[in-house]
C-alpha cells in the first residue's frame, strides 16, 4: 500500500550532509539553504520540488559546483566534492536555458565534454554518434544550434550532458521553456533516457505534475528546507505537513481531535462528532487538536446525511469533462471539495443547494504535523 518503488537500500550516489548556503553578509544575510540533509540513491530519478526561491536550484548549483556551501558536506559515492570546482566533478548539468554553444554544431556541442577530458578523436566520434542516436538527432548532427527547434535543442543539451557518462545528471527545470504537448513528450523521453542509461538523475522543478509523473522519489522544499522526502504516492497520499499537502494537488483541510493513536494510525473525531481512522506521519504521535487532510477524490458523496462522516450543503457543481467537482459548505462553516469521476449515463443526482453527506473511507484521512 502507498508505495510503488521497493525500499531497497541501494548505494547512495549523493549524500548531502548538513549543507547550509548563506548569501550576503551581516544584516542582509539570507539563508538560501538551511541545514539540508538528503540521500539520493544510485540510478534514482530524484526530484527537488518547490516554489521559486525555496532553495532547490541553490542545492543543484552546489552539487554542480557553481557555488560552494557555507557549511556541510556533499558526498559523491563517499567522496566529499563540495570544495571541488565544477570541471573536476563527474557530474553534468542540463541548463534551463540549455546553454548550447552557438558557435559549434550539434555534434561539436555533444562532443565538447569528451574533448575536454582529452579522449581520443575516434572514441569521441563514436560516442557522439551513439548519443545522437539515443536522442534521435542523427539527421541534424551538422546543424548550428540556432537552426534547430526548442525541443531539438533540449535533446542536444541532454545528449551533451550525458555524453561524458556522468555519475549524476543534474536537470535544472529543463522543460519549462517547452509548450505543453512537447513537455509531455519530453517527460516520457527523460524517463526513457534515465532507465536506458542507468544514470542517477536529479531533477529540479516547480511543477508538481511533472514531479509526480517522472520521479522515483521527490523531496519537497520550502524556504531553504526539505520538508518531506518520499515516493510520489507517499507525497501525494501521505503529506506530513500543511505546505506539502497544499503545494501538491488539491486538498481539503479539516479540524479534528485525536482520540487515540497507535502504530502509525490514529482515531480522530471530526467536527460532526463522527470518529474516523487516519494515518500518522512517521514518528509522530499527536494528541488534542490536529489538522487532517483528505484529497477530493478520496471522499464520496451521498444524498442526505445518513451514515456520513460529515455533511453540508452543495454550493457549486463544476463540470470538468473527466470529472465533476462538488463544492460543499460543511455544517461547521468550512469548505470541502469532492471530486467524482464522470461516467457516461452516470447519475446526475446532486445539484446546487442540495444537502449531502461526505463519506471519508478508512484510508483517506491523513494527520498533519502542523
Amino acid at each position: 500500500m502507498g508505495c510503488c518503488v521497493p525500499e531497497t537500500p541501494g548505494r547512495n550516489a549523493i549524500e548531502v550532509r548538513g549543507v547550509r548556503k548563506v548569501f550576503g553578509a551581516g544584516e542582509a544575510q539570507v539563508a538560501a539553504l538551511d541545514t539540508v540533509s538528503v540521500s539520493i540513491r544510485e540510478n534514482e530519478f530524484f526530484t527537488l520540488l518547490g516554489p521559486s526561491g525555496c532553495g532547490k536550484t541553490t542545492l543543484l548549483r552546489l552539487i554542480a559546483g557553481f557555488d560552494f556551501p557555507s557549511a556541510g558536506e556533499i558526498m559523491l559515492y563517499g567522496e566529499d566534492i563540495a570544495p571541488l570546482p565544477p570541471f573536476k566533478r563527474p557530474v553534468n548539468t542540463v541548463f534551463q536555458s540549455y546553454a548550447l554553444f552557438p558557435h559549434m554544431s550539434v555534434a561539436q556541442n555533444i562532443g565538447f565534454g569528451l574533448e575536454m577530458l582529452g579522449k581520443p578523436k575516434d572514441q569521441v566520434k563514436a560516442r557522439v554518434a551513439e548519443m545522437l542516436k539515443l536522442v534521435r538527432m542523427e539527421a541534424l548532427a551538422n546543424r548550428r544550434t540556432s537552426q534547430i527547434s526548442g525541443g531539438q535543442q533540449q535533446r542536444v543539451a541532454l545528449a551533451r550532458a550525458l555524453a561524458p557518462q556522468p555519475k549524476v545528471l543534474l536537470l535544472d527545470e529543463p522543460l519549462s521553456a517547452l509548450d505543453y504537448k512537447l513537455r509531455k513528450e519530453m517527460q516520457i523521453e527523460l524517463k526513457r533516457l534515465q532507465s536506458e542509461t542507468g544514470i542517477t538523475f536529479i531533477f529540479v522543478t516547480h511543477d508538481q505534475e511533472e514531479a509526480l509523473t517522472m520521479s522515483d522519489r521527490i523531496a519537497v522544499m520550502s524556504s531553504g528546507k526539505i520538508l518531506q522526502v518520499g515516493t510520489p504516492r507517499d507525497i501525494y497520499d501521505r503529506p506530513a505537513e500543511r505546505f506539502v499537502a497544499d503545494f501538491i494537488g488539491e486538498t481539503n483541510f479539516l479540524k479534528a481531535e485525536v482520540t487515540g493513536a497507535a502504530n502509525g494510525r490514529a482515531t480522530v473525531k471530526l467536527s460532526s462528532g463522527v470518529e474516523i481512522p487516519a494515518s500518522l506521519p512517521a514518528g509522530f504521535s499527536p494528541s488534542g487538536k490536529v489538522t487532517i487532510v483528505v484529497r477530493p477524490e478520496h471522499a464520496h458523496l451521498v444524498a442526505g446525511n445518513e451514515k456520513a462522516s460529515l455533511s453540508g450543503i452543495v454550493e457549486n457543481v463544476v463540470y470538468l469533462g473527466t470529472d465533476t467537482h462538488f463544492h460543499l459548505k460543511l455544517d461547521d462553516g468550512d469548505a470541502f471539495i469532492v471530486r467524482r469521476q464522470n461516467a457516461r449515463g452516470g447519475p446526475v443526482d446532486l445539484a446546487q443547494g442540495d444537502r449531502a453527506g461526505i463519506i471519508i473511507g478508512g484510508d483517506a484521512a491523513q494527520v498533519l504535523k502542523d
Binding site: G65, F66, P86, F87, F95, F101
Partner: protein, 266 residues
C-alpha cells in the same frame, strides 16, 4: 493622430536634413575633387590630372610619415586591444562591487580628459625620461597612442561580453573545461567580433591623432597627420588633397572590411 506621428511629415524636416548632409559632405567632396586638379591651386580648377597623387607617392617625407603612422597605429592598436580585453573580462566577470563604476571611469579616462592636457602632461613626463634614459625612439609615441586607444578598444569588447550568456561559460566548466580551456574554446570565439571591432576602432583613432602626437613626437618623427599640418602652415597645394583622399579611401576600406567580418561572425 490616426496615421501616427511621423517626423517625415513635419514642415522643414527635409530642408534641415539636406542642409546637414550638405555641410557634412560638401567639404569632403570638394577636397576629393581638387585632389584631381591639374593646377597648383586648391581653389581654382585647372583640369583633371593625377599628378598630385604621383607627387605625393614620390615624396619621401610623405611615404616616411605614412609608414610611421601605420607602424604606430598597428602596434598601439594591438597593445591597446590586449589590455582592453583583459580589462573588459575583469570588469564584467565579477559580481558588481563598490568601486566598479570608478574603475570604468578610470579605464575610460582618455575619453574625458582633454587631449591637450594629456599632450602637455606626456610632453613633460617623457622629456624627463628621455633625458635620463637617452632613448628617443618611437616607443613614446606608441605608449601614448596605446593609452588613449584603450577606451576605444574597451567599449565594444565590454558591450559584447555583457551581452554574452554567462551560462555558456558555466556549461563549459561543467563539461570539464578548465578556466583556460573555457576561455580558449568558448569565451574567445564568442568575443572575437567585439575584439575585432575594438582593434579596428583603436587603429583608426591612432592613425588620426594629431594633438597628442604633436606634443610627444621627437624631431623627425612626423606621422601623416602631423606632416600634413606642417605642410599647410607653409603653403598649400593639392598634394594635401591627394593625401587626404588616399587616407579617406583607406578608412572606408577598413570600416567596410570590419562590417563584413562582424556580419559573417553573427
Amino acid at each position: 493622430m490616426a496615421r501616427g506621428f511621423s517626423i517625415k511629415h513635419q514642415p522643414g524636416f527635409t530642408a534641415i536634413a539636406a542642409t546637414c548632409f550638405a555641410v557634412l559632405y560638401m567639404p569632403i567632396i570638394v577636397l576629393v575633387a581638387y585632389a584631381f586638379n591639374a593646377s597648383s591651386s586648391t581653389s581654382e580648377w585647372g583640369g583633371v590630372s593625377l599628378k598630385w597623387f604621383q607627387s605625393a607617392w614620390n615624396n619621401d617625407q610623405v611615404v616616411d610619415a605614412t609608414l610611421r603612422s601605420f607602424q604606430i597605429a598597428a602596434t598601439a592598436a594591438i597593445l591597446a586591444t590586449i589590455v582592453a580585453t583583459m580589462a573588459a573580462l575583469a570588469t564584467t566577470r565579477t559580481a558588481p562591487y563598490p568601486g566598479l563604476t570608478f574603475k570604468y571611469a578610470a579605464i575610460n579616462q582618455p575619453l574625458m580628459v582633454p587631449e591637450i592636457v594629456t599632450g602637455v602632461a606626456l610632453l613633460i613626463f617623457f622629456s624627463r625620461i628621455k633625458i635620463f634614459s637617452g632613448y628617443s625612439g618611437l616607443g613614446y609615441l606608441i605608449a601614448a597612442h596605446t593609452a588613449f586607444c584603450i577606451p576605444f578598444a574597451y567599449l565594444p569588447i565590454r558591450a559584447r561580453l555583457e551581452n554574452m550568456d554567462l551560462t555558456l561559460e558555466r556549461a563549459a566548466a561543467d563539461l570539464y573545461a578548465t578556466p583556460l580551456k573555457t576561455f580558449r574554446h568558448v569565451t574567445l570565439p564568442l568575443l572575437w567580433p567585439g575584439i575585432l571591432a575594438g582593434l579596428m576602432l583603436a587603429f583608426v583613432i591612432s592613425l588620426d591623432d594629431v594633438v597628442i602626437t604633436e606634443f610627444v613626437k621627437s624631431g623627425g618623427q612626423d606621422t601623416l597627420p602631423t606632416y600634413m599640418l606642417g605642410q599647410i602652415r607653409r603653403g598649400i597645394t593639392p598634394e594635401i588633397n591627394a593625401i587626404s583622399t588616399a587616407f579617406l579611401l583607406l578608412s572606408i576600406v577598413i570600416v567596410t572590411l570590419f562590417f563584413f567580418i562582424s556580419r559573417k561572425r553573427d
